[in-house]
Symmetry: D2
Subunit: 327 residues, 4 copies
């Protein structure tokens, strides 16, 4: 397994890089990477003894690759990344890259709490095949995460990353919304190509699109619940947990939006809201994995402390799908 | 002045009505009132000594009536209703009705903390000319405002109101979001025609539209910031503070949405977000009134404890308009 | 009934006063009124048809007056003041003053949303017998309630009030914590004698005591849950909902604290926390009134939209008292 | 360096243990470890190039060990533990144990997001010398961290930990308050000896003391801001960031409380609130480290993304100490 060696060489090689001042990143001559489209934020399958089940991961990806997704995100919040070791995080990226068709973009969540660890993880993920890095806001010291601190953090990461960086704001997990002024400043960095915004505030999304219009900066809606509204205000795609189970439908919603069939889009969007809420806020990853089991994928258990759903919760989860005609 | 007499007769007449059980409202045979369209939530002008300036109110309404608004809301949150006496609240409605063309709907905010007071105010406002009542959630005891309590409150008000009732959820002021399950239940009441939703969560708006689709129930976006997105998910109009100063533009945005010109709509929506935020969350009613002064209306002072903007705040407010090409 | 005349004369007389600049209040030569001690925040009894039951109010006060309370607060949050008309608010004060022994202080909650209405209500309450006014922070426009706005509001009220003013911060209802810097500034006003602080943050209470130590300014804990801790950091008493039902016990806790019997105080405090939480956050005024029924007072119904407890809730409420040995 | 070997052996040894059911921990026959007293939560010193400076750590501990602290906490929130590698976390514990006198308790923060990682870290920290483990609530998936999930997490950790476990609730960082019912359940575990509660809600602390009185369970106040109030309601000590710079004063406050000199205690407590707030909520670890520099310790830089204070912030920080007579 290649991972450990890569990891340790990264750690050594970066100690000097990290003390350099920001701005050393050499921009390419052209436009930023196009990241438009729909991505499922892939779950990490575990065995009954809580080991990562790479075989099941590959099987899930094989099945998912039949849909017209633009690509896949591994180790977004739905990937249980805070529960994985560094080696596991890299191995998941490596396996995903090997199994996925070349034309599918592989986004990898590389955020850590410290700037240094995030840089190291980002570089390592690039080395094992990630096409772009999705970097969540550090959050444990959220009271100190001012715009200035976050701008410094992301600038350093983008300076040192060999692959494009996507900002990632997910207040339900981090208790922190990446401020619009920081997003606007960071959009000017040649290696920062967009943001995955999971907050659901489309006024904010519209404002970000508006204020970054000269920067070739792209917004991905962070949930299927506001994918239509996101497109309406200028988002170019979405990273949607629901796409792990209703992949065809989420891709169809994208197509309806892109072709201006807003009436049909609205009808479809409406039927996706409750299932989407069910596998995100309402029942979380345990709900998403349970639903994957129903839809022919491998969901399986979560790592502790995440708990399985109770039978009553399963019933409610199922109802959110049946009442909208999906089961 | 007619008001006091009306008011006192209402108080006497209702004491019996309020002890009746809910459900006594006799529905008409037909459809619910159509409230689709754009409404400015009108401000209440005050003199330098903090008296209501009814003359200026009439002047503002005259000017605003030249735009293709569906109607007007008096005593929404922007009307400083918590600062008005009962008599003043009724007189504002009365004057507005007299000065407005007959084809403009007059919505009146009639919410009070108690159910009884809300019923009385609603009935009185109907008597002085309101076409529909917009009823904000009671909020002082928000910890006790369960779905059951809110359903009971609105049912009682709708039962006894001679005019249609519009629910009103504005968490930034009330600290309370009218729960979706309560909205769905209340949508079945024949005298409840819709909701003004000011929370800005379009996933929620989409879900409300979806789950009330058989009820002839209408959603109005509570702000110009998400008017386009609101239309995209099924709202039928908006109550927009910004329409007090950029009336033509908000009406144009409505027309672009209704005629499916989404690209132009998006461009216009983008340019309205910062001005909208400026006259709502950022600088509140003092900001809205200051802007009205700039745009040829009478803004004037607010009642205390609301404070005038500082010169530095005025500067920032102005910049939110000039940077988007509106001043 | 005297009230209406007083009220209307107040309204006329104050129109001039309100336009005067702040600072016109002529301080007495001496110290501020001593408000130390324990106060029950009295509930407002209603009949089955939701009329104020002044007879039951008087009966409750008679019974409560047998305990060594310093006085009583009418129309704190537990008095359902947002549900009362102006006339009812004044009549409650008037009746309470008539029935209470002369040596009991009568505090009256006079807060309204506007500064003008608060001044009028405060003056009127003084005229019908209140010894001091407890003024809650205005809160509907909480986003604009800066320290400057709140300082302006309270200064105006204190300038024009014939009786001492007590600040009142109750974030669970208002969504607003009166900022410490505003409290410190206001403590210098000769007619502002203290604060009822219901937030439960004793670090804040200690800081307020510390920074106002030269101002003869007094802090009352707003709940029996932190009465002991409040005394420990320098509070001089408390306004405790629980004192409506466990009056002897709350007075005993006060005595243990004042005489330095901290060990016994701690044991008693511990046994009061769950009952206190039950009649405040957990079950609110409906819970307090239900408990009053159990303890020989008249609790009765609340005005709508407050709802009665369900049987299951009543059971939990009872358990919070029985498990601590009070029932 | 011993650490890596220990770490890897732990990982192998535990894979079986983790799949065992909870409850396998064999309780000693006696009482729980006594953890009463004051502890500074030690900072982690870094060099200018952001390496851990173990020499400075030892120097700081030498100086701090001259005060009558009960012991020290390494890798509480003030130790920047989320920014350290696993090896660094263990090495800090190891060095601290070597340099500290035998009679000083060494508490080590061993919390990670997953249950498995927390168990491994706890076991490893025990092996390198920690006397007890302080385990912060997992928080990234806070929406799923029900009482049941947290009880399961802590039970597993306590079952498998060779050293006593202290619960750790710090909502300002985690956005999560360990529910009282979970604390009460967990207090019955023979290997869970107490809780470090940093929320500042003394009503809650009193309730925890009350409801765990038969369990030999101990509460440590998580901040010097409410140390006096904490003692008043039954806490037995505190973990106080301020003790890193005002060690003598915090120990004196403890002594005044333990000997019942509440009047002097109150005066001292008052003077510690502003400095305490300054080095915690207001300016965070950068503020604490800057203050350490002023008081003769090595503060030094934080790891990114934490930023240095601006000169204006330093000025305010200094004022919080000078205005209370500490500088």
């Amino acid at each position: 397994m290649l991972v450990p060696r890569v990891w340790s060489s990264v750690r050594q090689g970066l100690s000097g890089a990290l003390s350099r001042t920001a701005g050393s990143w050499a921009p390419g001559e052209g436009r930023k990477m196009d990241i438009s489209g729909v991505y499922p934020p892939v779950t990490t399958p575990f065995t009954a003894t809580a080991e990562v089940d790479y075989g099941k991961l590959e099987e899930n990806l094989h099945k998912l690759a039949t849909f017209p997704f633009r690509g896949f995100l591994v180790q977004g919040s739905n990937g249980e990344f805070p529960f994985l070791t560094s080696s596991e995080r890299l191995e998941v990226v490596s396996r995903a890259r090997q199994v996925l068709p070349k034309d599918k973009l592989l986004l990898a969540g590389s955020g850590c709490e410290s700037t240094q660890a995030t840089v190291e993880m980002t570089v390592s993920m690039a080395q094992v095949g990630a096409d772009a890095a999705v970097v969540v806001t550090p959050c444990y010291y959220r009271g100190r995460m001012s715009s200035a601190a976050l701008i410094h953090h992301y600038t350093k990461v983008a300076d040192l990353s060999p692959i494009p960086v996507v900002l990632y704001s997910v207040p339900v997990n981090t208790g922190l919304d990446l401020p619009v002024d920081a997003v606007v400043t960071l959009s000017q960095h040649p290696n920062i190509v967009g943001i995955k915004d999971s907050g659901g505030d489309v006024t904010r999304i519209g404002l970000i699109v508006h204020k970054t219009q000269r920067q070739d900066f792209q917004v991905l809606a962070g949930s299927a619940g506001f994918l239509l509204a996101g497109y309406a205000v200028g988002a170019v795609g979405g990273v949607c947990a629901l796409a792990n189970v209703l992949g065809a439908q989420v891709c169809q919603l994208e197509r309806l939006c892109l072709t201006g069939q807003w009436e049909d889009a609205q009808k479809l969007q409406h039927r996706l809201i409750e299932p989407n809420t069910a596998v995100t806020q309402r029942f979380g990853i345990p709900g998403l994995k349970k639903t994957m089991d129903w839809f022919g994928y491998y969901g399986g258990p979560c790592r502790a402390p995440l708990q399985e759903l109770s039978p009553a919760q399963e019933e409610m989860l199922r109802l959110d799908f049946t009442s909208n005609g999906w089961l």
